[in-house]
């Protein structure tokens, strides 16, 4: 994972953008539709040439070209996209879940009932299908881009956290210190923010951190279907979607799937391993069990 952090930070040096003001546009080399194979057999050597400025990206072509977009460039800058997308989606989902779950649990009764039934209805759709629909409906208004897909994934992503935090708060709000705070007349928002949420939030945060990988996957899937990042944007899923035109000849043009695919796999694997480690630390009883 540190490896990916390093790539994201060092992107301007690893893959110098053509236009410094639009680094997320993938560099184009020529105008051919055909995939172009990597230059030479050792991509590391070519990458080194790019870093040391012995060759431009188009001369080096470490991972080849697809529709004249440079795959290496897209992977490097796509790392930033992946971090951005994963962290923002997860962060906002946890936040919304927190809001709805804690309000429902704290005030209880009909507020809780209404909020939980709404949650049920959001849960009545398969996540990806619902996100596809919302992304398609939003596209005429917002256009194709990161924002549309991210909104779609956020609208349908918060329910799990809302339920989780609700359960934890229900247990905590019966504690004596909460009664004490109520007895001295502290306002609701203060009790909730200062006394309840800090004590109930950790399981939700842990689950959230474990889900970052899966949000990156879902976003990549939307991009792959053509509902995420626009064409030519440095995004892994969007790059792989080019491969759909070359399926019968993929054995010649393996690099258009293998390199971006590896990037996604390793990135998500990294997050999942971190999530597992997190859980082991917090719940040693489960160590090595799941």
């Amino acid at each position: 994972m540190l490896f990916f952090v390093a790539i994201a930070i060092a992107a301007p040096w690893l893959a110098p953008p053509e236009n410094p003001y639009e680094p997320y546009r993938i560099v184009r080399c020529g105008y051919t539709h055909m995939p172009q194979p990597p230059n030479g057999n050792n991509p590391l050597e070519q990458i080194w040439k790019v870093i040391t400025k012995q060759a431009t990206i188009c001369e080096a072509r470490p991972f080849g070209l697809i529709q004249s977009y440079d795959i290496y460039y897209g992977i490097i800058w796509g790392t930033r996209t992946a971090f951005f997308v994963g962290l923002v989606i997860t962060g906002l989902n946890v936040l919304i879940g927190l809001l709805i779950g804690s309000i429902g649990a704290y005030f209880g009764r009909w507020i809780d009932e209404i909020l939980m039934r709404i949650t049920d209805i959001f849960l009545a759709f398969p996540f990806l299908v619902a996100a596809i629909t919302l992304a398609a409906v939003l596209q005429p208004t917002l256009g194709r881009g990161l924002l549309t897909a991210m909104i779609a994934l956020i609208v349908f992503g918060w329910m799990g956290y809302a339920r989780l935090i609700r359960g934890d708060i229900l247990a905590i709000k019966e504690r004596e210190y909460v009664y004490a705070a109520q007895a001295v007349g502290a306002p609701h928002y203060r009790i909730l923010l200062r006394h309840i949420i800090p004590n109930a939030i950790y399981p939700t945060l842990v689950v959230g951190s474990m889900d970052i990988g899966s949000y990156v996957l879902s976003f990549a899937a939307l991009s792959f279907l053509g509902l995420g990042a626009e064409v030519g944007y440095a995004d892994w899923g969007q790059m792989i979607s080019f491969a759909r035109d070359w399926i019968p000849r993929l054995s010649d043009h393996w690099y258009i799937v293998v390199y971006p695919g590896m990037a996604i796999l390793l990135f998500v694997l990294g997050w999942n391993l971190i999530g597992d480690a997190f859980r082991d630390i917090l719940d040693p009883r489960l160590k090595g069990r799941i």
């Binding site: 009545a124 990806l128 629909t133 409906v137 208004t141 899937a221 993929l250 054995s251 695919g261 694997l269």
Partner: protein
């Protein structure tokens, strides 16, 4: 048990109504003009055509009346016109459903049996080589995007080896269907082939189904393996297992008769999740393998911004999932009597 079933059944219409309200809410994010233009199948010939359509579908009415009109339409089965399929949305759903059904049926059985079997295997051999291998297998399955896995399979087994082609069926079968020498009784090619007594068609259909089924299954195997493994390990620590072993029962009897049955209870709750995985998975899988089911239709429609088709597809999925979850919950209550009490 009966009270539980009745309670759950009473909730069903409420949830279904919620589903329609929700789909309509998403749909009405579009302006009335945009929605009206969806109902148009041609370029309007007169300047007031748009106005008339807006009026006809009540798009200039207050929102709750619009919803009521829309609900009446969908109950009558009128979901609009699907530009992608060039037929009404409800017909398109029925037209593409058999292919997806066939794919899902072939995927479901191996998913459940193999996934559970791998999980038990992993738990019984805890921390041995086979366990570590299977856990890596599950972790990779959990981290690898479906579309990358599908493309890799196609790269090797289709582009390189030419073993398993994409699509649903070979051209020569399609020709036989058209000239009438192959009759499609059920619309499911594998079953039709057997009914026609045509093993060559059966084999051809299997060749097309193999890769999509594997693609669809891998994530699910990963999920089931993890859950079954942890549940099985939990069960194997129980005292009655020790008792069974102390009685001198054979290990295979202890595992199969005593442990597995109880370990399956938490696994049964996975039913709903598996269904969600399947519904999500068919969209991606069918798109990659160019398999003419509802998933590919919906994905095509989404790219073309054929919103009516997408909305119809989502509605269908929502209803399917609500009903599916109900069935899973009822089955679960049947397996584990403790559930019925709360």
């Amino acid at each position: 048990m009966l009270a539980y079933i009745i309670r759950r059944l009473l909730l069903l219409p409420i949830l279904l109504l919620g589903v329609t309200v929700f789909v309509f809410a998403i749909f009405s994010l579009l302006s009335p003009e945009m929605r009206a233009s969806l109902y148009l199948s041609d370029v309007p010939k007169s300047p007031d055509a748009m106005e008339r359509i807006i009026h006809k579908y009540g798009l200039d009415q207050p929102i709750h009346i619009q919803y009521w009109q829309w609900l009446n339409q969908i109950i009558r089965g009128d979901l609009g016109w699907s530009r992608t399929a060039q037929r009404p949305v409800s017909e398109a759903l029925l037209y593409y459903l058999p292919a997806t059904l066939e794919l899902s049926l072939w995927a479901m059985l191996p998913v459940i049996l193999i996934g559970i079997w791998l999980g038990i295997l992993s738990a019984v051999h805890q921390n041995k080589l086979i366990d570590h291998t299977l856990r890596v297998f599950a972790l990779v399955g959990w981290s690898l995007p479906t579309f990358v896995f599908g493309l890799l399979l196609l790269m090797y087994f289709y582009a390189k080896l030419q073993w398993f082609p994409p699509g649903q069926i070979s051209d020569w079968v399609t020709r036989e269907v058209i000239n009438g020498s192959f009759i499609r009784y059920t619309q499911l090619y594998t079953i039709d082939a057997l009914l026609n007594g045509r093993l060559d068609v059966f084999w051809d259909s299997l060749r097309h189904l193999f890769l999509p089924v594997i693609t669809l299954s891998y994530v699910q195997w990963a999920l089931l393996l993890r859950v079954t493994r942890s549940s099985m390990l939990e069960t194997l620590r129980q005292e009655y297992i020790m008792t069974a072993r102390a009685k001198g029962l054979k290990e295979s009897v202890v595992i199969n008769k005593h442990a597995t049955r109880n370990a399956m209870i938490p696994v049964a709750t996975m039913g709903g999740l598996l269904l969600i995985g399947l519904l999500n998975g068919v969209v991606i899988t069918e798109t990659i393998f160019n398999y003419p089911g509802i998933g590919r239709w919906a994905a095509d429609a989404a790219i073309r911004l054929d919103i009516l088709s997408v909305v119809g597809f989502t509605l269908f999925n929502g209803v399917l999932l609500v009903v599916g979850n109900l069935i899973v919950d009822l089955l679960y209550a049947f397996i584990d009597p403790r559930v019925r009490l709360d």
